[in-house]
Symmetry: none
Subunit: 190 residues, 4 copies
DNA sequence: AATGAATGAGCATTCATTCAT
DNA sequence: TATGAATGAATGCTCATTCAT
């Protein structure tokens, strides 16, 4: 309904011009409604942006989670997860990735973004754990998840800018994840 | 000299409050000079921020590069590179990481940041290549570098927020890099 | 009926927050009706405020007038008038005095307030005249009434803020009025 | 200098259109400066209005006080005080009286106005006391001063609207004051 | 009769930027 | 050289007012 229309417009404008460089006028114009409506529904520019973030993050997390069947064998599970992740990015370039990029524009949203990222990290951490037959107690699965999510974001950025094919990127990430699961480095060092 | 003083002040203020939320007044006050001086030297806020980015990126790249002895064996080379990278972040939290974070605040700097990141990616790509005895022609070293740099940034962020010890983080990254160097995924899949 | 309910709400809100600082939303909420009703009945905020003024002024004048028995001897007449006046203020602090104070907030109401005040001045002027046995032709009864009404308003303000007891204030005003009735200043000058 | 120019413009505009109905644009235009100057010097509209009030009240009190020679005999003292008061009003119609009227437009200024009025009341109270040979202990000189100041304001309003001649008004006020000084009402009642 | 939903128009405030000295 | 003083241009936000139902 109306709220979605406003959020769509806001996401689009924010993604194109960034948080500070997007005026409420521009958003209202894009949504083809009047500015007071924006304020009626969202109270302030900051809250509007927050609402955008919330929606986009929720959608993202839901979509990725929905693409994963946790009953699959680890390898398939990993593949579906990575593909779900990168496909979402690929199909929602303008909205999510740029929002994600813009979310750091104001101190006010560090919290929301961090929270969203932590959710992803938790998810990945659990994937890692579930995919490792004999977890090495010295292995810092949380930090590994941080690194893998970071790698994923970087690859996702490439995807979102169209510089890379989703499936090639997915293949690489899968490899990286899979290696991340393998035993200790010393196992491979020699 | 005077220029460094201004850039120092600008970096500090930008890192604390972000690009748009930092006023030229605040920077001038911090630098203990007058606003017209800022304009005399840098022409505009945008150019001033660009100058900050340039200097910080250059410093960063130089420092990291200086920490790497390319004549070392691959393993030592990797270790010194990662430690140089994370140590720089750890020692320059306020300035570089936040700048890095802030650099996405305005479309105007996507270019500079991308460029800096590409330099890192190239460097890492070369490291990967030089560390692989029999490079697999199917291996996308560039994309792997993207992923590793992304992982590095994510880990670096944890470091910069003080949530993680530099050496633990380094160890993890080294492992991840090292695994990244190993042959094709199929080599490990079974 | 409905109109009184709206006026009550309006008077209350205006008296608390002032004319410009009271929104139609606030009045509608206070009256527990919808904003369009306010507009249906009163056309505009200005007219609504005008209606408030009219009602309050009418009530005030009527109440004071009703408290006066013009057949009484002058002294009693004066006392009853003053007491009626101040009692009204004391019992209708929130509504009338503040409205009275707020009525000057917009040029639009100078007229109504002036008119109301003139009615009071006329009344007082007639009281003065009727209380003076041998009116001095040089005496400017109208101006005297102006002064006495002003004095009354000032004393009334003290009453309305609770800083003064009604009966003490009444006593003082009666004295002042009474003296005002006495012959020419020269009668007392020596 | 510049500040006076701004205050002059502000006083003029506020006096013509009232506090809420005067925009900062209008004041800046009247002062023939830019809006940022107003904000540089006064911080906000409210503070600007406060500065106007302060200046006008100070000027008023100073001027009236300066017109009074406390070494004069009581009668002359009274006359000079009243004339100083009404003359000031007469000569500063647009600025002071209307400001005085406008000052009640926002809750924010009740304080300043009340304070200014209290200063007047104190002054008048002292005049009353000093002019009374044998002060009646039952006499509430403060309340009498309140009443006389109120009367003065009312008369002053007539003066400020041009409806009355200053000297006629002064004469009446002097009489009223003088009578106010005379003994108890019962002394005159019969 | 009554209102939820919507807006046009305006206003206070800020800030990057530039003269005049 | 260096700056105090000044401003044009925006922008977030509010509110009296009115449709469509």
């Amino acid at each position: 309904m109306r709220e979605q229309q406003m959020l769509d417009a806001a996401v689009q404008m924010f993604s194109i011009n960034g948080y500070h460089e997007t005026s409420m006028d521009a958003i209202a114009a894009q949504a083809e409604i009047s500015k007071p409506m924006l304020y009626l529904y969202y109270g302030s520019k900051e809250e509007l942006f927050g609402a955008c973030l919330d929606r986009e993050l929720a959608r993202f997390v839901e979509t990725v989670r929905a693409g994963i069947d946790f009953t699959q064998p680890a390898r398939d599970l990993l593949r579906t997860a990575v593909v779900a992740f990168l496909s979402y990015i690929d199909e929602n370039r303008a909205s999510w990735i740029v929002l994600y990029t813009q979310a750091t524009s104001s101190q006010a949203f560090a919290h929301t973004v961090r929270e969203g990222r932590e959710r992803m990290i938790d998810l990945v951490g659990r994937l890692l754990l579930s995919g490792t037959r004999h977890p090495d107690p010295d292995m810092d699965f949380d930090m590994m998840a941080v690194a893998l999510v970071g790698a994923g974001e970087a690859v996702a950025n490439r995807v979102s800018t169209g510089d890379t094919d989703v499936h090639d990127a997915a293949e690489l990430m899968i490899n990286l994840f899979w290696r991340g699961l393998k035993g200790r480095p010393s196992d491979h060092a020699h």
